[in-house]
């Protein structure tokens, strides 16, 4: 099977879906030249006016998606960096997410908002955030965050086919991850978590790039005879708690790892839900791994200290492992 990166998976999914359905268009800043992250690479040539360069006007971009969807199209729009959602939260949260409900069900808004999140490139405080928790808090939105190239293609295809607004988050540090990705279109259902690695001692629920970090932590710990099970929710909302709870029932211990700021982050929801739903199985508190309480610093030395990584997962696991003889 051909090996592709996340950066390649995105335009491939878009291209295949756009070929299938003429109502799909893709709008955002600088898409003609591939977008800032290559997510529209090659699409302009094939789809012409259906790939639209917009002015730098994110409120209008997101609002355009709402109006066009309400009028029967299937917009995909890009907000280049996730940090920029601050300038168009109203359109996403008060309009896109709520229109269907406010109208008593009459509206159908098949919209995908793609955006790139995460730190790791010395892009500093306004180009490095992971703000998924904001969107998960809002009924009416679905939130997807794939952790590899295979999932990226399959989940993006599902997101485009979904009749609801979906926030589709690619992680910058994942863009060059490469994996076997089938050429033909395939759909991975939204709302289904995946056990990325089976294990028996501790469940690590990890999102986005933290899946890679969790795998590294699992490798390290395996050398010490500790077996991690790595669960990737893939869709953050709706969240597949069943898979997570089943894993914790097996391992009795859990660590939740996210890249965003830990306080009030998405990991808080998972940790709170695990202890609610699997309290009697837990032999130790659910530990969280997440970024410390500061904006993302610029300097590589500081950013590295800021970023949650495999080591932090190992440390969290060590805290809740039973004392060994």
């Amino acid at each position: 099977m051909p090996v592709k990166t996340v950066t390649q998976a995105v335009p491939e999914a878009l291209s295949q879906e756009m070929s299938r359905d003429p109502n799909i268009f893709f709008a955002g800043e600088d898409l003609s030249v591939g977008g800032a992250f290559g997510t529209s690479q090659g699409l302009k040539k094939d789809f012409g006016d259906r790939v639209i360069d917009t002015p730098i006007s994110e409120s209008a971009i997101a609002g355009l998606a709402v109006g066009a969807a309400a009028a029967g199209l299937r917009p995909v729009v890009e907000i280049m960096f996730m940090d920029f959602v601050g300038v168009c939260m109203d359109e996403i949260v008060n309009q896109m997410a709520k229109m269907k409900y406010m109208f008593g069900g009459k509206a159908t808004l098949p919209i995908v908002v793609t955006t790139a999140a995460g730190a790791g490139f010395s892009m500093a405080a306004q180009h490095s955030q992971s703000l998924e928790a904001w969107f998960c808090h809002i009924p009416g939105l679905k939130v997807v965050m794939p952790s590899n190239a295979y999932d990226t293609k399959g989940l993006l295809i599902s997101a485009i086919r979904d009749d609801n607004p979906v926030i589709f988050i690619v992680i910058k540090r994942n863009l060059r991850l490469r994996e076997e990705v089938p050429d033909e279109p395939y759909a991975i259902p939204l709302g289904v978590a995946e056990v990325k690695r089976e294990g028996s001692d501790v469940t690590v629920v990890a999102t986005g790039h933290m899946v890679t970090q969790a795998q590294r932590a699992a490798d390290q710990l395996a050398e010490r005879g500790v077996s991690l099970e790595v669960v990737d929710p893939r869709t953050l909302s709706p969240l597949d708690m069943d898979t997570i709870v089943a894993s914790v029932q097996k391992t009795s211990r859990a660590v939740v790892a996210q890249e965003g700021v830990q306080f009030c982050g998405f990991g808080a929801e998972i940790a709170a839900a695990i202890q609610e739903q699997a309290f009697d199985y837990l032999d130790a508190p659910v530990k969280r791994v997440g970024a410390p309480f500061s904006p993302v610093p610029f300097s590589p030395s500081l950013e590295e200290a800021w970023l949650p990584a495999a080591d932090d997962i190992v440390a969290a696991v060590d805290e809740i492992l039973p004392a060994r003889a």
Partner: protein, 329 residues
């Protein structure tokens, strides 16, 4: 402009419907029979009706918090509207939206909106869809003088001017945003002047005069349908009641100002001119009024007789369920 007498009569009928609907709303609020924030359109009827007379159900409009008039002008049924205001499951939004979100997508009415300035980007999107499909339909965005200071207006206007989508931006300049006068919220008199920033025509008309609105809107809409792009149409108008409710905070405007505008009440000047033209008779005017009132009463009765929205359905309508497995594949 030569307007068919039938059209004029229909416009008048609509205007009476808008007025009577919101007058009744005001009384219902004062009687404490409806809840929530309701913004009355009384005084501004010539705008919605003058514009929407040019539109079919395949054309789109976006509205504001002051949305009853827009929905009625677009063909909304008072029955389902009152039912919505009463929070009944028979309402346009099953009681989930209320006055500030009243909508009927079947009529191309993309909703009243609780967020000032939310309309322009959404209307831009609807106009974009018409443009994308090249179907000859248009989108109209109603928004207030206050809303013309939100960044969303500017972003949407720029994009509309750039893409030349069939959008008409109708500014209902009623001289106030809540209790703040226009002169205290922007340093210009004619909001239509802002059109130049986006390479579109800007037109200011007397929004109390349904003829003037009809004519200017007709030109803008025809232009949009011809693919010649957007227009900014400013209608100077006035609201008769308080910003929200009837006399919400007892914050009063200058009585002379109110009287001067009421002297040009569209519900008086329009039928007077129709009678002068021989397009309508006093008897017809009286009949329209009494029939409309009866319709309004029947609609209120319908609403009150409808079942209250049932909490069993609270969590419905948040998401569109997935299509049957594999449907898309």
């Amino acid at each position: 402009m030569d307007i068919a007498h039938d059209t004029l009569r229909q416009m008048y009928e609509r205007m009476v419907l808008l007025r009577e609907f919101d007058e009744r709303c005001g009384r219902l609020m004062q009687e404490n029979r409806t809840k929530g924030a309701v913004h009355l359109y009384c005084g501004e009827e010539a705008v919605a009706v003058g514009v929407c007379t040019h539109l079919s159900n395949d054309d789109y409009i976006t509205s504001t918090h002051r949305g009853h008039g827009h929905l009625l002008a677009k063909g909304g049924d008072p029955k389902f509207m009152y039912a919505e205001l009463f929070g009944r499951s028979s309402g346009y939004c099953k009681g989930k939206g209320g006055s500030m979100h009243i909508a009927d997508l079947d009529l191309g009415m993309l909703g009243a909106n609780g967020i000032v300035g939310a309309g322009p980007p959404i209307a831009l999107g609807a106009a974009f869809a018409c443009h994308y499909r090249q179907d000859g339909n248009v989108a109209v965005c109603f928004f207030g003088d206050g809303a013309s200071n939100e960044g969303t207006f500017h972003e949407a206007a720029n994009m509309a001017g750039l893409f030349r989508v069939p959008l008409v931006l109708v500014c209902e300049n009623n001289l106030y945003g809540e209790w703040t006068k226009q002169a205290d919220h922007q340093p210009i008199d004619d909001i239509a002047d802002r059109a130049a920033s986006y390479d579109m025509p800007g037109v200011t008309v007397d929004g109390m005069d349904a003829f003037a609105v009809y004519e200017a809107a007709g030109e803008a809409i025809a232009r949009a349908r011809r693919g010649e792009g957007p227009t900014l149409l400013e209608c100077k108008t006035y609201r008769y009641y308080d910003h929200v409710g009837v006399d919400f905070g007892k914050i009063v405007r200058d009585p002379d100002e109110v009287a001067a505008w009421k002297a040009r009440d569209p519900l008086e000047q329009f039928p007077r001119r129709l009678m002068e033209m021989g397009a309508i008779t006093q008897t017809e005017v009286d009949r329209i009024t009494s029939e409309t009132r009866a319709r309004i009463e029947a609609a209120v009765d319908f609403a009150e007789a409808s079942p209250v929205a049932d909490p069993a359905f609270l969590l419905d309508d948040v998401y569109t369920p997935a299509a049957a497995e594999g449907a898309h594949v």
